[in-house]
């Protein structure tokens, strides 16, 4: 990480730090208060330059910090909605702020495998705070705008204590075609990849620290080969998560402009799938290293592992991303696929 990236990372860490101390926020009120403050400080605008041009360098640093701290704010949702708002406004020659209103609550977006229909019930993250209408993105098909009604007594928080509820779509209107759906999916995938990579790093840190400080049978547990190797496996997983995000990051800066290329789409879906599966595996192994204490609220590991279990499927489901990855990959020749998955060659 260069000096500029370190600075952004530090500032982002400070901005998010109130949440890192908060462990009881089931309705998300504290998180939303912090989020509003972040939006007014300009964090929602990072990476967005001239209309049609987005750099992912800064948003990825911020997203990774969210994961590293094990906190929940609707940044990736909001940033994706912002991208959709901007591109739709740009396409129609209108204002950047497509729907207007409170920007901190423009966080409603769901990713579906099929076309949305009126009456369709979907899980909506941060539902109590979402400004209507929301976007429904179906990667191979298009983007829809939809109002919704909440379904009473649907779940109010997920495993990571993030607010979520079941809603029923109504007044569903198609607002764009497949190209924008691919862009939105690409963008959300890579942001969530960075969040998951951040989680993996912190779980690696927790497992390492514990293996050094915890003694059993008269010696630190890392001295037992099985434990030491488990710690190493978690560390290796974090390296691969980083590499998957890096493989998108360098290309993204240069190319995520008016169109998201097939190459970026594949890399982003791949990065998300990889980070989802490896963060989950890191959670499993970190819990094994920490033993019983890791299963408690007393130890911070839960901040990361519960989010790994949630973020791998929300807002984008790992299963759907895999299907999309295969659909996109299988339409390419072996040579085109090989080229698309080549390492970044930018100096």
């Amino acid at each position: 990480m260069n000096d500029e990236a370190s600075l952004i990372s530090d500032v982002a860490g400070q901005a998010l730090s109130p949440l890192a101390r908060e462990d009881n926020d089931p309705d998300g009120a504290t998180a939303m208060a912090v989020w509003r403050s972040l939006v007014s400080d300009g964090w929602l605008d990072i990476g967005f330059g001239q209309p049609g041009r987005v750099s992912l360098r800064e948003p990825l640093i911020f997203a990774e910090q969210i994961g590293r701290l094990g906190v929940s704010v609707p940044f990736s949702l909001a940033s994706t909605v912002r991208l959709l708002d901007e591109r739709l406004a740009h396409a129609s020659g209108g204002q950047e702020d497509y729907y207007g209103g409170d920007r901190s609550t423009r966080i409603g977006v769901v990713f579906l495998s099929d076309e949305p229909k009126p009456g369709l019930e979907v899980d909506l993250a941060w539902d109590a705070y979402v400004t209507q209408p929301i976007y429904a993105v179906s990667s191979g098909r298009g983007v829809w705008s939809s109002d919704f009604e909440r379904i009473p007594e649907s779940r109010s928080a997920n495993l990571a204590s993030e607010p979520i509820g079941r809603v029923r779509l109504r007044d569903v209107q198609k607002v764009s075609g497949e190209e924008l759906a691919v862009q939105a999916t690409t963008y959300a995938c890579v942001l969530m990849s960075a969040q998951l990579a951040g989680l993996a790093k912190s779980m690696s840190h927790e497992a390492t620290v514990h293996s050094v400080s915890r003694e059993q049978f008269g010696r630190p547990i890392y001295k037992f080969q099985a434990v030491g190797q488990l710690v190493a496996k978690i560390a290796a997983r974090t390296v691969l998560c980083d590499a998957s995000v890096d493989a998108v990051r360098d290309r993204q800066i240069a190319e995520f402009q008016d169109n998201a290329s097939t190459e970026l789409y594949l890399r982003s879906l791949g990065a998300f799938q990889l980070c989802a599966s490896h963060a989950s595996a890191a959670a499993r192994d970190a819990h094994q290293v920490l033993g019983a204490i890791g299963t408690t609220r007393e130890h911070p590991l839960h901040r990361f592992s519960t989010r790994a279990w949630v973020w791998r499927d929300s807002p984008i489901a790992e299963h759907n991303s895999l299907q999309q990855l295969w659909d996109a990959a299988s339409s390419l020749s072996e040579e085109d696929l090989w080229n698309a998955l080549a390492p970044a060659t930018a100096p």
């Binding site: 690696s204 390492t208 620290v209 293996s211 050094v212 630190p220 890392y222 080969q225 030491g228 190797q229 710690v231 190493a232 496996k233 560390a235 290796a236 390296v239 691969l240 998560c241 590499a243 998957s244 890096d246 493989a247 594949l266 890399r267 879906l269 791949g270 990065a271 799938q273 990889l274 599966s277 299963h319 895999l322 299907q323 990855l325 295969w326 990959a329 299988s330 020749s333 072996e334 696929l337 090989w338 698309a340 998955l341 080549a342 390492p343 970044a344 060659t345 930018a346 100096p347």
Partner: protein, 373 residues
């Protein structure tokens, strides 16, 4: 600095060469071809195009290219499953070791000949009963007038029966530590006192060998680097051995063959997608190792990480292809059978050779935990 366009141009150049060679029936794509695909004539053709020893300076037969450029070439050769074993060991690690540590005379004697594909090397590191313990070297080199006499035995030396020269790690003195007193040598494989005996692998083939040394004379100028400094030198060499794309792409020809099939992948598509999601990041990791080498930085830990992760992927690919295409791969009449069966037979070796996964995890564990203690 080599820019993107130059890398792309290089890729295109290598691809065209491989495409032409394939069309001429010069090779059949196969997995693990960097170890099993031994074709000296093919390697000489690769060398004639300047793709062997390319990171060395021109005065030693190289092109002064970056390790990233070499990465581009090796990736494409591996992707194609081309027979590159004859030059692989010398190009990957022995040449760089001679380049880094060898005397001027040694460099001038060997590097141009490696770069032209004229000489082939095998490795003499492992010994019977040593397993993963590389430092437990009992092969001895005793100083004699004008050189050294080597006695002992090496094992698991791929293509030693074909190589013109061997790299040998031998004990030249007894130090306070097992790591002391080791020295690296270049040994002519046709020298008196060398006996190469094949080891039959599980496919019934013999690329592995045992090498017996009975008073084998090695001249002084065939010592690599300083006498007694072998351990430090061999550790540096391991980054070259472990950190290349061959630790990710040994079974890529199996995956490529499956991807080229039309309408045959009917099951477990998602498993194949899982595999594809790893391919890009692993290639990125191998690229990162090449970048570190270009900056002159140590890549020992990064290479160990790559090998640990990459070889898992190599094993996984073969299994996922089986699940995805079923009998098209596994039936003896299936269109993928030859490439798939070669991959599955080779796969137990991926996580053993060049440092077992367990040893690599121990290295990583020391690195991760060492920063906390």
């Amino acid at each position: 600095m080599v820019n993107d366009e130059e890398f792309l141009g290089l890729r295109r150049e290598v691809r065209q060469f491989l495409k032409d060679a394939l069309a001429q029936g010069r090779y059949v794509p196969s997995p693990d071809a960097w170890l099993l695909g031994y074709d000296e004539a093919f390697s000489r053709e690769v060398a004639q195009r300047g793709w062997v020893g390319m990171a060395w300076s021109p005065e030693y037969g190289g092109r002064g290219a970056s390790y990233r450029a070499r990465f581009v070439v090796t990736e494409e050769l591996l992707r194609a499953g081309a027979p590159v074993a004859a030059h692989w060991i010398a190009d990957r690690q022995i040449g760089p070791s001679i380049f880094a540590y060898g005397s001027e005379r040694l460099k001038r004697e060997f590097l141009p000949r490696i770069a032209s594909g004229e000489v082939q090397f095998c490795l003499g590191m492992s010994e019977p009963e040593s397993g993963s313990d590389l430092a437990s070297v009992s092969t001895r080199a005793t100083q004699v007038p004008g050189g050294w006499k080597i006695n002992g035995q090496k094992i698991w030396s791929s293509n030693a029966h074909r190589a013109s020269f061997g790299y040998v790690l031998a004990r030249t003195s007894q130090g306070t530590s097992r790591h002391d007193g080791l020295t690296e040598f270049v040994v002519a494989m046709h020298a008196d006192g060398i006996d190469v005996r094949p080891i039959i692998d599980l496919r019934g083939e013999a690329h592995f060998n045992e090498i017996f040394f009975d008073d084998v004379f090695v001249p002084d100028h065939h010592v690599i680097g300083a006498v007694g400094n072998g351990w430090d030198q061999v550790i540096a060499q391991l980054a070259f051995e472990r950190g290349g794309p061959e630790r990710v792409l040994s079974t890529y020809p199996v995956l490529a063959a499956a991807l080229r099939l039309e309408d045959s992948i009917s099951r477990s598509e998602l498993a194949l997608a899982t595999s594809l999601s790893k391919l890009g990041p692993l290639r990125q990791l191998a690229w990162n190792v090449a970048e570190r080498m270009d900056r002159g930085e140590s890549a020992v830990v990064e290479a160990a990480t790559l090998k640990y992760l990459g070889t898992q992927f190599e094993v996984e690919v073969v299994e996922l292809v089986r699940q995805a295409v079923g009998s098209v791969a596994t039936s003896v009449s299936g269109v993928l059978y030859d490439v798939w069966s070669a991959g599955v037979a080779a796969s137990p070796g991926f996580t053993i050779r060049g440092g077992t996964s367990e040893i690599l995890l121990t290295i990583l564990s020391r690195e991760v935990i060492g920063s906390r203690t």
